[in-house]
Point group: D2
Chain length 418, copies 4
């Protein structure tokens, strides 16, 4: 899974790879089989370990990829592979596998498992970012710098304020992900969202087989630690909510990267991307490019369109299960998720090695003092107060605003998932 077209992609490891999709699908099918067994519907079976079923050779995986087109999704050929694997050791399990489900049940649920890992990975990065940013904000609460608006010098700020502002952006992302994390829904509706097949399977065992069928889907959710849910085959908000949160993360990391890219320019010299062995050029031996920021910015430039695709796919829903809208989701979701994880990880590294040059910030601010204090002079003319000549004396509520971000950060870190 080397992707030379997206340097840094290795940071996303096996999150949402084809292999990990197979693993998630196997996990869902085994969980459902266990539910059927527990309910006395399917006979007990001596199944091989999950890892054994999951372990496809390269050529098996390739074949799966080739076969996935015929039915439009990888579930159908994977079931054939699994049944073949079970045929000799557990023929009854082979027969009962997937019974009652439709391929969209397995795939949507597997994606939720994969996305949970993605969200957890990003939350880990966010917590580290919150820690780094809290330290930086506090450390540089007094580091005078020129405030810039629409590219021009405005009024004085401190670098701590900029960091506190990034911090509040990162905390917003974490808040959104927190909300999502525990509401990822199971998908289990059967062929057309009626649970008809499951109801038939339950019929002899329950006075109210329909209710029994619903209970089995709740059982599946519990085994996978997902939220029980009505079928959402054509209601794709669970997918777009995740996409919205991922793109919002990329927006925020991109904004941080923009600031670093600007202030790491030699004409500014206010920041340097630290870390060793990065940013080299193929022809210019002196070059030290702020390459993490470049790559983070790249992610921010591409994420909005990926999330938009997921909305477009949702808006194309029709029937009990859609004719392309569903199929359009997987690739952009995978790409958006991996890119977000990569950008999150790069941002953590960027922040943890960021070199700040307070002297340079101060020098620029002092040289620009005339412009930076123009507003204060206008206020003075209004109020008749005394003239301010030192930019460091015109910082308003900067400190309190930094404090508010730090406080919010502390609360978030205290309450965060382990």
């Amino acid at each position: 899974v080397t992707d030379l077209y997206w340097p840094g992609d290795t940071r996303a490891g096996d999150l949402m790879t084809s292999r990990s999709l197979v693993a998630a699908l196997v996990r869902v099918e085994l969980a459902w089989h266990a539910v059927l067994v527990d309910a006395g519907i399917a006979p007990k079976a001596d199944l091989p370990a999950e890892a054994e079923l999951t372990a496809l050779s390269d050529s098996e995986l390739r074949q799966l990829g080739a076969d996935a087109e015929a039915g439009g999704n990888p579930v159908i050929p994977l079931l054939a592979v699994l049944r073949a694997k079970l045929e000799s050791s557990a023929p009854e399990a082979a027969r009962w596998l997937h019974r009652g489900l439709t391929s969209q049940d397995a795939l949507d649920t597997a994606l939720m498992l994969q996305l949970r890992d993605v969200l957890d990975g990003i939350q880990r990065e966010l917590r580290n970012q919150v820690r780094e940013l809290s330290t930086l904000a506090d450390q540089h609460r007094g580091t005078l710098a020129a405030g810039r608006t629409l590219t021009q010098h405005a009024v004085p700020v401190t670098f701590g304020l900029t960091v506190a502002s990034w911090l509040s952006g990162v905390l917003d992302v974490a808040d959104d992900l927190d909300l999502l994390r525990d509401s990822l829904p199971v998908q289990a509706g059967g062929a057309a969202g009626t649970l008809a097949a499951v109801t038939e399977l339950v019929r002899d065992r329950q006075l109210d087989p329909a209710r029994g069928a619903l209970e089995l889907t709740a059982e599946l959710a519990a085994r996978l630690r997902l939220r029980p849910s009505q079928p959402w085959h054509s209601n794709r908000r669970p997918i777009t909510r995740i996409a919205d949160a991922l793109v919002a993360g990329c927006d925020t990391w991109g904004w941080i990267a923009n600031d670093v890219l600007l202030r790491a320019r030699p004409e500014f010299g206010e920041l340097t991307e630290g870390g060793a062995g990065r940013g080299g050029s193929s022809t210019m031996p002196h070059k030290q490019n702020p390459i993490l920021s470049v790559l983070i910015r790249r992610a921010a430039l591409t994420a909005p369109a990926l999330a938009a695709t997921l909305h477009a796919a949702a808006a194309a829903a029709v029937d009990q299960r859609p004719d392309g809208g569903w199929h359009a989701e997987w690739q952009p979701l995978r790409t958006l998720a991996r890119n977000a994880v990569t950008a999150a990880s790069q941002t953590t590294e960027l922040l943890s090695h960021l070199e700040v040059h307070p002297d340079r910030m101060r020098r620029i601010a002092e040289e620009a003092a005339g412009d930076l204090l123009a507003e204060s002079e206008a206020i003075r003319q209004l109020t008749g107060g005394s003239m301010i000549t030192d930019p460091a004396h015109y910082l308003g509520a900067t400190d309190l605003i930094i404090d508010a971000s730090l406080q919010r950060a502390n609360l978030a870190l205290a309450g965060s998932h382990p």
Copy 2:
């Protein structure tokens, strides 16, 4: 504000028009002036009514539009207009207007006021949709129909199940909007988010002028019934969260429209867009096009890119206030908001006049019984149960799933804002 390029736009009335933007900006400036007066900073003034200040002639408005380019936003020329209006009657107010704020404070806050009206308008439509859908779902819980997946007949469903599924989609939209509605933040940071000017204004009156400055911004929020907030000049999540919710609304309405467009085709004949005087053609006298659905679908096709633009703008943030990212927000936000309101209103009308043809649904289902019951036969071969020959006997948990949606709808209606 006639827009021949977006038929139905009149439904959005004066939401997010240039005129209503002027009104919102005036409201923000007057609220801030009142805060300054209450705090003893600005002298009391005998101001004209808000409506009087807001009432620009057509040519004044045109001039404002022309003048807005010079500073890049409409706040600067509007302040000149307001100061001119106040000069004779309330010269002190003219002088104190906007003091301490920057144009982004006024404009972001005014947009929040405008967007609150938009969200309220959509919530009203959603509540009506929830009512209509609840009635329809209950009414048609037994209306047999062919379930369709990937365009082909799958297993039997009822039309009530389809409606219940739409209903859960609509409730998801309402949930998202509810969360947003009460968290719209005020923007008040001054030139570069430090509140330096406000702090100077407060200096003589407070032991802790910075804290005093923050209190004034909380006071502004309270007057406008917005959430107090740290400055978010470069952290645009408040904007993208709204965009995400609006596009999700359009996704859902578009999905409903897709189903209606399909099933209103003469080859289906299962649904008819009711209502009178709609759907005519310029050349075919017999035509009765499902035009509301066509126009709703149109909104769903265009909304994802508008929301993506707001993310792209957010990701372009840099400095204390950005150099184009901010300016890129207003037009797509306006368009997305008005289109969403229009689509919401059209959907309510569509649902309230929707004509359902249960006989036709049943006939299609019965003619397709062989296909619709193929799964049940496969299950029978597995379990040895009895053969099902009537599609109406293979509906699984359909009724319970409808019940769950209706229950959620009742809770939502009971708890909804007045």
Copy 3:
């Protein structure tokens, strides 16, 4: 048509306004009526001047906007208005108006007329940009500057090279528009693209009425100076080609604006947006923001999604005429076109007033000489040549590359439409 949400929009004047759409529609309908009269099909009529039919009062226009929803487009109610206007003076014309056409024929053709004006307007701006850039490139071919890649100093360049690069981008845009300008197709297919009604109208007058019908559509094209074409009701490439060219224009202007925004920062001081009375702030009296560049950049941030919407609409085609895909085109096309015209005009103004500071460019380059000459030293170690110590001596083919752009510019200006 004041749009406070898009400062500068007044530059687009009446291009693609609702009023100019009415005018274009009237022009199409009158041209078609004249074709019918010339062919001896419709009786001669004493029609009022086009301007008279076009001149709707504000309230008539508003009514048209309200009525457009019922049929999904403005053609149907406009025909009613026109027939009412003709009823007394030219009742036969009222009867024959639009006969043989469908509303999509009128609207698509009218949009082509409107878009031709848009393309012409942009071409005028492009020619002016080519002139300004040619002058600037030549003037600054020797203006030494630091070459920058991935934000860091790379090797020396001249400002003339940067300008020549912009120039080649602008010429690419002009090339694309040239190709489009003379291939805008008429739309005339009747209700479902068969010209059945027209064929019936022609039947008594022609041995081969179908060929006669096609000839009438060619006649319509000739009268409107459009390209004769088969019906393209569901084949939307004529629309997406225009969108692709418009967004490419915005890309290029946005790139120029990015360079100006960067180099106009006080830390660079290499460029200044000239012109008077621009760039002011609502609170900082000293501020001189590069506001044209800010607004151009804004257009570049929003254009890609608009063009994508037109592709999404094209991809939603189905049937003889689509159920929403077509309706989704008008608003984003209008917005993209007006934004492109505005950005084109702003770019011309930006370039014609751009203030270049060669001393500052040279100073930065000289201070960075060590870095800028690192590559030359690596080459020297390979070839054993003499050491270069002056950045101005390591400019390679800069002059020849500028010459190539200038030559291409001269050819383009010589061959350009008057």
Copy 4:
């Protein structure tokens, strides 16, 4: 390179894979080395075959992927790999490899080589599509069907007309690709587009070393059969033009798929996706889903956003070489290209196995005769002609329009690349 998230991706084979990117990069570097040798600049060397240099083991490729992040692109670590491979057998070649180029030169040029293969692959599919469609259009020029607009029955058409309309869409795509195919530009500008290093390399051998440098880049273009070009490091129109053409292809194939998906519904029964072994379900044994159309539609839903990303990346250009805009291109370009190739191939297969049911088309048309002839009756009332009672007699210029498409197809096939 199995992608379970995009079933059918195997159709794109090794087009734009990480491995084929390595191959293309090696090809560019070797071509440039040969240019340097031919010019007498680099010493002759006994190089291993290109295939040998290209053949990386899995673990080497993985390492390359991991190392690509440090410099932000894969060229830098690939050069290290190549130099290591050459070190013993051709140490001089190792030393001279890449001299004068920058990594963007190598990568942009390699992408052009890869994209040429993509365009060629698509053109092959398009030619096959043109042949299939020509046959179908001619075969079904008399196959009566109901014309449908805005989902409702309009006037009669023939299925041949629908096919001819698809055909003209496919020919438009082919025209656009033809224009692009022979204009793909080489990229060779050195560190910042000045060719400074190349000029130094040439200095001792040429009176006019700058001209000599330009000639070497033309030589490189000739060797790779690309168009000689000025450097376009920051002018990304060559990339966006390709993206625009690819998305237009997906639009057209998506439109065809939409028509098939609709008319293959059991309620229509007018078309069937032929071919064997496709369209199965994981739970419903009878299911025969039109899966190629589903997957083609999926591509059309996702392509617009990918092309938009390339415009957004182009619009983010700044400096001599951009800080993220460039890096953002590769992944979406790869995805768009592979998806387009896959959809093109699927469309060819779809068309070559499409089963048409003329009886069913005719039956629907005849049952709808009243509606389909309503327009003709309105025309009759105007002209006094005779009443039409058979839909087949109200087909207007259908035959001539089909002829025009077929003629254009013949010309295209006659003139097409071998």
